[in-house]
Subunit: 241 residues, 2 copies
DNA sequence: ATAGTCGATTTGTATGACAAACCACCGGGC
DNA sequence: GCCCGGTGGTTTGTCATACAAATCGACTAT
């Protein structure tokens, strides 16, 4: 069996496959899946493994199983859109401009508010964590190092709000940043362009200035979006800002 | 509205039971659950049903199963805090003042932004849906009717943003409102006190005035919180495990 | 003392069986 | 003709059992 990118367990493999089919639109809301025995056979697994996958997909709100009828794909309204897997599947199946805009809107709603909240309530340890992430960004030599540190920075800010509900939205920010990274063609010389923005956010949180932090974070996001549209629209043009 | 936590299949009961134990703190992060055979016996179900429950709990980030070791309760950081079930379990176990504050903060972050976005992009149909919900609130005779219409109103506003990611946060708003309703001792004479606030939001969205809608929604939430604290006697009473 | 091996423990997967719920069809009564 | 209820086939829900795979700890050989 292939273990390339699917190191997950067997049921995880099945869940991924079916989840992608549904989110990707191969099967549409209202459709009923083949019966379990058939599906299991076509996926080369036992009914046990398939059922565990279906249960998890059901928990994510993608399908609903009813005895005697079958597993029906639910309307998008019921999908757990903030689930990390659902978001990932959605991005995997060609992120449309439309979806990118929605991710940006989410960032605009969440992150400035989180930065303000963090500036209000951050502890010394939480501030230190943000600072560590910022230094890692500053010292990053490769794209991977930068990406990891960037994610760490935004996670640390969410954590500093002290509100675990807000922090759970990290999966959205993670998906958004990941999508930005793959869509924008950055070069080694420009991938640090947003460092000054991050510094402003860090300093505002350090000095406990909520409104300054909010605005700094907001302008970071706006700038990030502009940069993305610029590099996508002009194609060849490498952003230098 | 949603049958998430109502009567369910066998595995659903098991999931509910274990989920409440974990979220309620009966078993703490780091603990390992008894082995599946033992757990299944103590819960009077087969190992199959138990395993399906464990899989879903695993998908919610509450536990992690590793072969040869057992199922370990994960740190709260990994919990899918925005999951409807997790939120429900959390409120069922003990809505501490601390948690209520976090719910309020989430509303303050999400709903004003959603109202502004809805005022910007709502379609005629989406506006009509909000209007229907508002009229239902206006005409509500009982507490149940009011509650249902209120939820419908806030859901319609989220829907009018056109951003399904924002709409998925409805589970948070639903939990917050539900908790408010149970905590605040309302009487038949005062349960409509927030109707004018809702009307202001509705009108701002109708007239496509984002900032007016944002402020109206924000003041509604602030007022709601003040009303809650008032009716609870300003005293810190609920703080038991 | 350290590395490797073996065995015990626990989860992961497969298989077969039966119960329960559901749907469509059919036949009788009005 | 139309409505009603039974009836059988279909599909999921649950159970029981068996074995494979992974992990951990102790024991042994060097």
């Amino acid at each position: 069996m292939r273990k390339t990118s699917a190191v997950r367990s067997l049921y995880g493999h099945v869940m991924h496959e079916l989840g992608q089919r549904i989110v990707g639109g191969k099967v549409k809301p209202g459709d009923v899946l083949p019966r379990e025995e058939t599906l299991a056979e076509s996926l080369q697994v036992s009914r046990t493994a398939l059922r565990e996958a279906l249960k998890v997909l059901s928990a994510k709100g993608l399908i609903e199983s009813r005895t005697g009828v079958g597993a029906r794909v639910l309307d998008k309204r019921h999908w757990n859109q903030l689930d990390a897997d659902v978001l990932a599947w959605r991005c995997a199946s060609m992120p449309t401009d439309d979806f990118v805009d929605k991710l940006v809107e989410m960032r605009e709603v969440i992150e400035p508010a989180a930065a303000a909240s963090a500036a209000r309530r951050r502890t010394a340890e939480q501030l230190a964590a943000i600072d560590v992430a910022f230094r890692a960004m500053d010292e990053a030599q490769t794209l991977d190092e930068w990406t990891a540190a960037d994610l760490q920075f935004h996670d640390a800010v969410l954590h500093a709000t002290g509100n675990e509900l807000l922090q759970s939205l990290f999966s959205v920010i993670e998906t958004a940043l990941g999508t930005f990274f793959t869509l924008s063609a950055r070069t080694a010389s420009n991938f640090k362009y947003s460092l000054p923005h991050h510094q402003k956010v860090l300093e505002a949180i350090r000095r406990k200035q909520p409104e300054v932090a909010r605005k700094a974070m907001h302008s970071m996001i706006v700038d990030s979006q502009a940069n993305l549209q610029h590099s996508r629209g002009r194609g060849r043009r490498k952003a230098t800002a």
